[in-house]
Symmetry: C2
Subunit: 183 residues, 2 copies
């Protein structure tokens, strides 16, 4: 689902406290003349931008924008917070998003906590705790924390998500999904 | 080629037969002269071996063997199928394993389905559907499918898991964790 989606809005706010494994992107220098060449954008910065784009699209119920961060065809395999066990392929996951978004009225807010990006040149993964809050069409307000993990590959020089895993913990004694946890 | 080398090559062939995203290791060529050196073991093969080692240790309730596949200290962050939202650090996750294993009598069987390994030189992730079956100490038999995702880093030339995400889906209408799904 969707939960995964959550990632980005908050990203902007938490960029400075995110756990990183590489050097942070330097702030853009204030200058009057155009730079002769732009500094190289790190893989982490590109991945953060991808998550930012996702969050903006998610907040706006923009399914095309959401799907722009995902790999094509059957490359994409997602484990969403809701059944089934897995969504194989882009079209199945898009349908999952559409069904999720259709339940909500207005924007769906996303907040990240403890986000970590670990990237090599062509393979990366990201994980974060993710707060999702919004209002269902029946008026009920939902506000809960998920766990989100994504696997990414650089495909034709562009980072894309090939795997999502979104969940809440389960209590095996009661059989309940646990939706009231806070980090 | 020495019998031992042939055996090793055959083993490699078997290991790499499983779901892979890179080129499989070629089958051992039939040749009369001894190979000058053993072929390199692929990152996927090393990661697959790590997963197999984990399953053997898990089956045997061998906590030391289980923890041997994980990164040291606070590098390890795990989202387990049970609360809390996250386990930060190796010691917290070890305790989680000890508590889980203490509930079972006899071996706990693990079966993987649709396992995929995506690896670069220093960063990798793995995901699979995972069937877990065993008998609780009160005699109750459990047999259910999980979703498992791991993020790995090559640390001092050795692949180690730095992130686990284990879950079952949740039904938001009933509030239940969904334990009866099959792939």
């Amino acid at each position: 689902m969707k939960p995964m989606q959550v990632l980005l809005l908050a990203l902007l706010g938490i960029l400075t406290c995110v756990a990183q494994t590489r050097t942070p992107v330097p702030a853009a220098p204030a200058q009057r003349t155009p730079a002769p060449s732009s500094p190289p954008v790190t893989d982490e910065a590109q991945i953060r931008e991808l998550y930012d784009n996702w969050a903006k699209a998610f907040r706006a119920h923009d399914v095309e924008g959401i799907m722009a961060v995902y790999a094509p065809g059957k490359t994409l395999v997602a484990y969403d917070v809701v059944p089934p066990l897995q969504y194989v392929g882009r079209e199945a996951y898009r349908k999952d998003y559409e069904e999720f978004l259709a339940q909500y009225q207005g924007p769906i807010e996303v907040e990240y906590r403890d986000l970590r990006i670990i990237a090599d040149d062509r393979v990366a993964f990201v994980h974060a705790l993710e707060r999702m809050s919004g209002t269902l069409k029946n008026g009920q307000k939902l506000d809960f924390w998920l766990r989100a993990t994504s696997g990414l590959q650089k495909i034709h020089s562009k980072w894309l998500i090939v795997h999502d895993h979104i969940s809440v913990p389960a209590n095996f004694e009661t059989g309940k999904a646990v939706l009231d946890l806070k980090p």
